[in-house]
């Protein structure tokens, strides 16, 4: 049996779990752990500039790989700075482990220097947490933390480590558990066979079916299965903001994103459907609009690994608790025994109807010569990256444009804070993506508001040579707020205007990067080309876009799914 200090155990346990990257920031309570990190090369530590960004980096790392992201911070302010990042991961079911330092056990509760009750502070936004009380318990706590974070419905787990137990002066026996089993935690993966049969019956009987695919399909790596199922049934597919990429955005059966800023055809298809197959989606209020008017004709089959998601907001007629991959496989085991070759003829009328909604071309916009429309920038980005980039987004209008105008071909390609809507998420998330995929193109689509919420990470990018491409849609305003003020508050722009914008080009240069300013439409293509030609440098594209543009379509509050504004003057 190996003897080692608590700090060495932390690092050894991370190695035993298979952790390659830790995003963190040192401080008093974790200095012993930092000393143990110094002594080895297997676990690579990334020094951030703000702990919130560390959590978003671990999050982006996790979203783009499916692996669990790891954060290491000190007690007190270090720990509390991660809370927004933890909550972001929690809302989107992202696997993450946050190791936080804590004051020595004997001082807990004394309001000691840099003491906060991290387990208490984080409780509402974690899947689970541990306050480790003895050094010998460290390996098991860490093994359990990763097991819980990554299994079932994934989520963040906090491991709080008092300073005395990681003390480098004392040695303890190190035993890493060979496997983790917990009598109180056994997530269900397989759907109930009877429910599967009922679901297949409903799907095959449906005249107007639709697949409504969410982030759960990505978490379960079920994209290929979902695509196969959609093709077998000849059914239209819509993805949630979190589900984009689970079904190819260029597939003829794809009808776009649904919900508040969904396409007309997606929302119409949902509203008129007689059978909705929800796969790892949670009927979020940004999807359903008024639940009382939600899809009145539909038989709802809801597949989700988390029973609490089922019938939480919208009642499911056929609930199936299980992981999307396993359940779709089960669906196939029933479906394979049936002849469904007539789906094409059967759904012909349905597709005719859908094509008619599509012909409205709800994403069309006018592009005058004298301004740059933000939509145009995203389309240009798509071309210049051949649709293959990892696109991380911040929160606001630019996020919706990036979701709607860049068709995602693969899962884990589109990285955004869907549930919490955290401004400041984009840049650090794209950094996490870049650490996980060193050769890939990692892009951030951001706004002048959001980028300033974690801009300090430009410094981290220089330190680690991250050639991120920042596409900032600068509208000199908190655009999404401004849009709502235009629509609901008679254009009173209360504090949504940013009066003293920095010179972003100079700012990028000050951090050692390349800055490019684009003010005119005719410069856009060249500038994009220059940006992506800079293979080894971070490029900050400060693109002056139309300040008055709104995101459309947009659901009308209190209405049904398909009650929408289509432009400033048109509605459904």
């Amino acid at each position: 049996m190996k003897m080692m200090s608590g700090a060495a155990m932390v690092v050894q346990a991370l190695k035993d779990v298979g952790v390659e990257h830790v995003f963190g920031y040192p401080g008093g309570a974790v200095l012993d752990i930092y000393d143990a990190l110094f002594a080895q090369d297997d676990v690579k530590h990334v020094l951030v500039r703000h702990e919130q960004a560390a959590a978003h980096m671990a999050d982006g790392y996790a979203r783009s790989t499916g692996k669990t992201g790891t954060v290491l911070v000190t007690s007190g302010p270090g720990a509390t700075n991660t809370l927004t990042g933890i909550a972001t991961a929690y809302m989107d079911s992202i696997p993450m482990v946050v190791l936080s330092g804590q004051v020595p056990s004997q001082h807990i509760g004394e309001d000691a220097f840099q003491e906060t009750d991290m387990v208490g502070c984080s409780r509402p936004v974690v899947k689970h947490s541990f306050l480790v009380k003895r050094a010998v318990d460290i390996p098991e706590a860490i093994a359990k933390a990763y097991y819980i974070a990554g299994s079932g419905r994934p989520g963040p787990v906090v491991v709080d480590l008092p300073k005395d137990i990681v003390n480098v002066q004392e040695s303890h026996p190190y035993v890493f558990p060979e496997s983790v089993a917990m009598r109180s935690y056994n997530p269900t993966r397989k759907g109930h066979p009877k429910q599967i049969k009922t679901a297949v019956k409903a799907l095959v009987a449906a005249k107007r079916p639709v697949l409504y695919v969410g982030g759960g399909a990505i978490a379960a790596n079920a994209d290929a299965l979902v695509t196969k199922l959609a093709e077998r049934l000849n059914a239209p597919v819509t993805c949630t903001l979190m589900g984009l990429g689970a079904f190819p955005g260029t597939h003829p059966q794809f009808i776009g994103m649904l919900g508040m800023h969904g396409t007309l055809e997606a929302n119409k298809t949902m509203h008129n459907s007689d059978c909705i197959l929800a796969l790892g989606a949670r009927f979020d209020d940004r999807v359903t609009n008024n639940v009382d008017k939600f899809c009145p004709h539909a038989n709802i089959i809801h597949v989700d690994i988390d029973p609490t998601s089922i019938s939480k907001t919208v009642n499911a007629h056929i609930p199936v608790v299980g992981s999307v991959d396993t359940v779709v496989e089960q669906i196939f085991s029933v479906l394979d025994k049936q002849d469904v070759s007539d789906q094409k003829e059967k759904l012909e009328d349905w597709w005719k109807q859908i094509d008619q909604w599509r012909s409205r071309k709800c994403l069309n916009y006018e592009q005058p010569e004298d301004v740059i429309k933000p939509q145009r920038v995203i389309e240009s980005l798509y071309r210049h990256t051949k649709g293959e980039a990892f696109v991380s987004s911040d929160v606001g209008q630019h996020q919706m444009f990036a979701a709607l105008y860049y068709p995602y071909l693969k899962p884990r390609q589109w990285i955004n804070s869907g549930g919490l809507g955290t401004m400041g998420f984009g840049l650090p998330a794209a950094m996490g993506v870049q650490f996980a995929h060193p050769g890939a193109t990692s892009v951030v689509v951001t706004g002048d508001g959001s980028i300033q919420m974690n801009i300090q990470e430009l410094s981290t990018c220089l330190q680690y040579n991250l050639p991120i491409k920042i596409i900032s849609l600068n509208n000199r305003a908190l655009g999404m707020v401004r849009q709502w003020q235009d629509m609901i508050y008679k254009g009173r722009h209360s504090h949504s205007y940013m009066e003293s914008m920095p010179d972003f080009v100079k700012l990028a240069e000050a951090y050692g990067h390349v800055g490019i300013q684009v003010n005119h439409l005719d410069e856009l293509e060249d500038a994009m080309a220059r940006c992506f030609a800079e293979k080894d440098r971070l490029v900050f594209m400060d693109i002056n876009v139309d300040q008055n543009e709104h995101v459309y379509p947009m659901q009308i509050k209190y209405g049904a799914m398909d009650d929408m504004r289509l432009s400033k003057t048109e509605r459904t």
């Binding site: 409780r123 306050l131 819980i148 917990m182 029973p307 609490t308």
Partner: protein
């Protein structure tokens, strides 16, 4: 509607705060909460009395079940079950009449006087919450209630059914 939920969970630090936090975080009602370790000291048994429509109660049950420390949750309300609550109640007995009246009610309700002081009695009574309510209302008609403390409901299903790990 009133619901009695019975929960079996790890007797681990922080476990109770997760339950309590869940209720406040999601706006669920807690009418009473009764908790103690079981015969197996690694486990705790909780009885939560809540109210809400079927949808809310279903969510509460699922959300509690989802907590990593929770092994099992069951709704005792509809099935046949035993439920008990204990109350200690201190009442003023300043004169002979009050003492006699209190004693009479104690007998009727099958309660017990567990402490006697020159000017008050402390009474122990167990039963359903309704019975405890009725007892305090009756006592209040004849004398003053000085203080009382109730445990909240604890319950078990009747017969073969059991919450075991």
């Amino acid at each position: 509607m009133k619901r009695i939920l019975s929960v079996l969970m790890e007797n681990a630090p922080g476990a109770l705060s997760r339950i309590v936090g869940l209720f406040s975080q999601r706006g669920y009602n807690v009418d009473s909460l009764c908790v103690a370790p079981t015969d197996d000291p690694s486990l705790s048994r909780l009885t939560i009395v809540s109210h809400g429509d079927d949808k809310v109660i279903e969510q509460i049950t699922k959300q509690v079940n989802k907590l990593v420390d929770v092994l099992k949750v069951t709704d005792l309300t509809d099935g046949s079950h035993v439920e008990r609550e204990l109350m200690l109640i201190k009442v003023a007995t300043r004169n002979e009449l009050a003492r006699a009246e209190v004693k009479r009610n104690v007998d009727i309700f099958r309660a017990r006087i567990v402490d006697v002081h020159s000017s008050n009695y402390t009474i122990e009574i167990t039963g359903t919450s309704d019975k405890l309510d009725a007892f305090s209302q009756t006592i209040a008609q004849s004398t003053e209630i000085i203080e009382s403390s109730r445990t909240g409901v604890c319950g078990l299903a009747r017969g073969e059914k059991a919450l075991r790990p």
